[in-house]
């Protein structure tokens, strides 16, 4: 009983680590754009598909596959940024009905999502492809518990990504510019920051973080399907919303909470209840607290 509880928590943390990484990327894009990028997951899915395609044709080490996933995500993400968000940034700076450009950008990101999904299925038409697994050995036993090696690897990667992002945002000169764009885009522009270049670069960083998360997910599940795109967007968004928008520690906490919660509700209530619980939590947080777990300064 207690062992089940501990085991589920442990497995949940493993899943939560990849949610946390996905949420970190989503949070960065959200901070810069102030919009939900619906094509976030599909761009990552395209990266994972590129890696899958390579792995079908040649035996490549895992690290190379991770690099291909990240590179593919960044390339697809750059396309999304150019087509969906860059054109509307200018429109939003000008006059016009409030929110019109924001709506247009979000719907455009959905349109590009459909493109990316169809491109992936045209390249690899089967419903499901195997992805080389992260580890092959049996799980470590810690007393009554079994530790899948994916869990510590995932947690380590999540910690490393979070530390790197923190360093970039709060210690590097580029991060200062990014934070300025997030706080006050107009003022940042006036003080000589090239807002559109900084946004595009931050978008690329976010896509690469997302690519790392996507690789973790694909290698942990050992498979990719075209649904990976929608799945990734939803998990990243859910974890970000649970953690409160626009906060890096919040994104990590949100990912962990989501992972543990899903793992417990799946164990006690079944797979449909798992998703139901996640959405119920999101809905309740929005309806009653409207800011998520962590509030921003």
């Amino acid at each position: 009983m207690l062992a089940d509880l501990a085991q589920n928590t442990l497995d949940g943390l493993g899943a939560g680590a990849s949610y946390a990484v996905l949420a970190l990327g989503f949070t960065l894009v959200f901070g810069v754009l102030r919009l939900a990028n619906l094509a976030y997951g599909p761009a990552i899915m395209l990266g994972a598909y590129a890696a899958t395609w390579v792995s079908l044709h040649a035996p490549v080490p895992l690290l190379a596959l991770a690099a291909i996933t990240v590179a593919g995500s960044v390339a697809a993400g750059a396309y999304v940024e150019r087509v969906c968000f860059a054109p509307h940034r200018r429109a939003r700076a000008g006059s016009g009905p409030a929110g019109a450009a924001a709506m247009a950008a979000m719907v455009a990101s959905f349109a590009v999502w459909m493109q990316l999904e169809e491109a992936a299925t045209l390249a690899l038409p089967r419903h499901l492809y195997a992805f080389p697994p992260l580890t092959t050995g049996p799980p470590l036993s810690l007393g009554p518990l079994a530790l899948r090696m994916e869990t510590p690897i995932g947690l380590g990667v999540a910690a490393a990504v979070c530390a790197a992002l923190w360093w970039m945002l709060y210690r590097a000169r580029f991060g200062l510019a990014v934070r300025a764009v997030i706080e006050r885009p107009a003022a940042a522009g006036l003080s000589g920051i090239d807002v559109s270049r900084v946004s595009a670069a931050a978008f690329a960083v976010a896509s690469s973080v997302g690519g790392v998360g996507g690789f973790l997910v694909a290698a942990t599940h050992g498979q990719v399907t075209p649904h990976l795109g929608m799945w990734t967007t939803l998990k990243g968004m859910l974890a970000m919303m649970i953690g409160g928008l626009g906060s890096l520690p919040g994104a990590v906490a949100g990912g962990m909470v989501l992972g543990v919660l899903e793992s417990h509700s799946q164990w006690y209530l079944g797979p449909q209840a798992r998703d139901l619980t996640a959405y119920l939590l999101l809905f309740a947080l929005l309806a009653w607290r409207s800011r998520g777990l962590a509030r921003r300064g």
């Binding site: 939900a36 969906c84 429109a91 019109a100 979000m106 999904e117 929608m230 449909q272 959405y279 809905f283």
Partner: protein
């Protein structure tokens, strides 16, 4: 008309209800990712009423609209305080919950020696009222377009009324609308319920056209398509969403020229179009210019 054309036209008609539902919300300044849930509520309600309890289609559709409107009102009451993206996310969460509840819904009863009713993820078969009452595909098509034209006419009249102007004011600048004494919350609750009822109306007809519905018919893809239709067609007139549906379902899917690449083409067209015309093809400016000069409606 051959069967294929009838099928394409039927689909255009059915998705138009959902696009109109997204449209009225967009006009009032709200972005919903969840209208597919009310489409689903309508489909299940009307299916249960005709297939399980032998109601006539008209009564079943009325019940579907009432329930769809009520469900939307309940979601609206708890989420309308939220602004912009938060509201969109809350509607998405509510809609996905509804889809999972459809998957959990098992409720069947014996009708003429056959078990009928929703069977969880297996879906809901045997919604055969239309065929049992000797209605041909062409006849049902006429019914769909009859209902649709009543709805569109009502919306067009509404748009030229004081209430229509109030709606647009709320959508364009809620603070200013509040400052001139408009009760924004009440207006938006009304719009949300009406949009839910319109979606449910479409869902009721959809279920009776397909005779079979399953939970994943009502996933987020459907909802975002409805949004895209409304936004591409244009937010200037209720005819806009119809144009959006006709472009995708009619021209791209119907012509089969882009078979296999349709999503890539439609996605690209939508993304680029929104750069040039962020409020769609038939936006407010175009509609104003047309109605003022040519048609003598002012």
């Amino acid at each position: 008309m051959d069967g294929y054309t009838v099928g394409v036209l039927t689909n255009i008609g059915l998705f138009s209800f959902l696009a109109l539902s997204a449209y009225v919300l967009l006009v009032a300044g709200e972005l919903s990712f969840g209208q597919q849930a009310f489409f689903g509520v309508g489909a299940y309600t009307a299916g249960v009423a005709t297939a399980m309890f032998g109601w006539p289609l008209a009564a079943a559709t009325a019940a579907a609209m009432a329930l769809g409107g009520l469900a939307a009102l309940l979601v609206g009451l708890s989420t309308l305080r939220l602004r912009g993206l938060y509201f969109a996310m809350a509607t998405l969460a509510a809609a996905e919950m509804a889809r999972i509840l459809f998957e959990l819904l098992r409720w069947q009863r014996e009708v003429n020696g056959e078990r009928v009713g929703p069977d969880g993820a297996q879906g809901f078969r045997g919604i055969r009222w239309v065929f049992e009452h000797g209605m041909e595909a062409g006849g049902f098509l006429a019914l769909i377009y009859g209902v649709l034209s009543v709805l569109v006419t009502a919306l067009l009249v509404l748009e030229r009324s004081r209430l229509g102007a109030t709606l647009r004011a709320v959508g364009l600048d809620p603070e200013q609308a509040a400052a001139v004494g408009i009760d924004i919350h009440r207006i938006k609750l009304g719009v949300v319920s009406a949009a839910g009822a319109v979606a449910a109306l479409g869902g009721a007809l959809y279920a009776h056209h397909n005779t079979y519905v399953e939970p994943r018919n009502f996933d987020i893809m459907l909802g975002v398509h409805a949004l895209a239709y409304a936004l591409v067609g244009g937010l200037g007139t209720a005819l806009g969403p119809l144009l959006g549906v006709a472009l995708d379902v009619g021209v791209l899917e119907g012509s089969q020229v882009f078979a296999g690449y349709r999503m890539i083409v439609f996605g690209g067209v939508v993304a680029l179009l929104l750069v040039v015309r962020p409020r769609g093809l038939l936006d407010e400016q175009i509609v104003n210019a047309l109605t003022r000069r040519g048609w003598g409606l002012r």
